[in-house]
Symmetry: C2
Subunit: 191 residues, 2 copies
């Protein structure tokens, strides 16, 4: 599918308000079917996603977000909860069949937790850019009560919430002015 770098990077903005236009289930499936291919350590693929779309589930989620995120989340047709499966290694026999990769993580909680967090966050980056590739606007947020979100949406699992992300058609009239970025010299060096 043809897209542009402007659509993914320089022209895309974090949106704070969304139109009522719904996001079809087919688009959410396309989103996952793009992002799933991008790389993770040992193909560990720890990200788990709950797409919160029904009025009941959205009301539950609104109880969990920080005051400054309530109105923007209320306006979105769908909010994705990007979680991380802290027991991701139990899927490695299927995901990395050519070695006993599960044994690298079992009983090594700190290493496993770090791997889950790093790689689910990488997948969060893939998620945002895949959504933009499909014409969706994103509003990623880390202002929420993680204990409440985990209890409401991941009870009975070993999944923990990493961040949440509003999805839909953004309302450009509600954008803030764009903030600056670090220069190449401030953030990078070639050695």
């Amino acid at each position: 599918m043809n897209i542009t770098t402007e659509q993914l990077f320089d022209h895309a903005r974090t949106h704070n308000a969304f139109t009522a236009e719904p996001v079809p289930e087919a688009t959410l499936r396309q989103l996952y079917d793009l992002m799933k291919w991008a790389p993770t350590s040992a193909n560990s693929s720890p990200a788990r996603i709950a797409f919160v779309a029904s009025p009941e589930a959205r009301a539950m989620l609104l109880e969990c977000v920080s005051p400054g995120n309530v109105d923007k989340t209320r306006s979105a047709p769908v909010t994705a909860i990007i979680g991380m499966d802290m027991a991701f290694y139990d899927k490695l026999p299927a995901l990395f069949p050519h070695a006993d990769a599960r044994s690298w993580f079992v009983g090594k909680k700190e290493f496993a937790d770090t791997t889950a967090f790093r790689n689910a966050s990488l997948q969060g980056g893939y998620f945002i850019l895949a959504a933009r590739a499909l014409g969706l606007d994103c509003g990623p947020m880390s202002g929420f009560d993680a204990v409440k979100v985990d209890a409401a949406f991941w009870a009975g699992t070993q999944i923990k919430t990493n961040f949440i992300c509003n999805l839909g058609r953004g309302d450009p009239s509600k954008l803030f002015p764009r903030s600056p970025r670090l220069s190449f010299e401030d953030a990078c060096r070639i050695i």
Copy 2:
């Protein structure tokens, strides 16, 4: 710039060997100038990148990688060290000028460290897809001695290494068969 989702996601592969074709400095600058626009929490932009290109720096890096990553790293013309600035908040007065965002993090080490790790990893995802958008192949790795890499490349700073990533023109004859991914039903739900 026109690109395709296949180039970024479904047709792209993690490469284990690279041709001798160099990566021009202009391409590394373009890579950063794409990835810098994608979102981070409070525009915190904690990722810092050392592009290891000179023979001397590459020899130092080879001393730090896991045995299984030596040959693939040796073959790459450039390896990026994606670091995270644990004192990223000192740049927030410039990056997030409309609020005193620095005060949200100063003296809250656990919250600051988590924010640095999550957002530098998100930026790692943007980095990989921006590299692919520019026609580069990537070989991301987390098998290295982080203490040694930090000492060799980030001494005197508050930057810690997150992961490293070979960059260049991949040699498709050295690819492994592609591993499976989780189905939508295994990784996602719509509620």
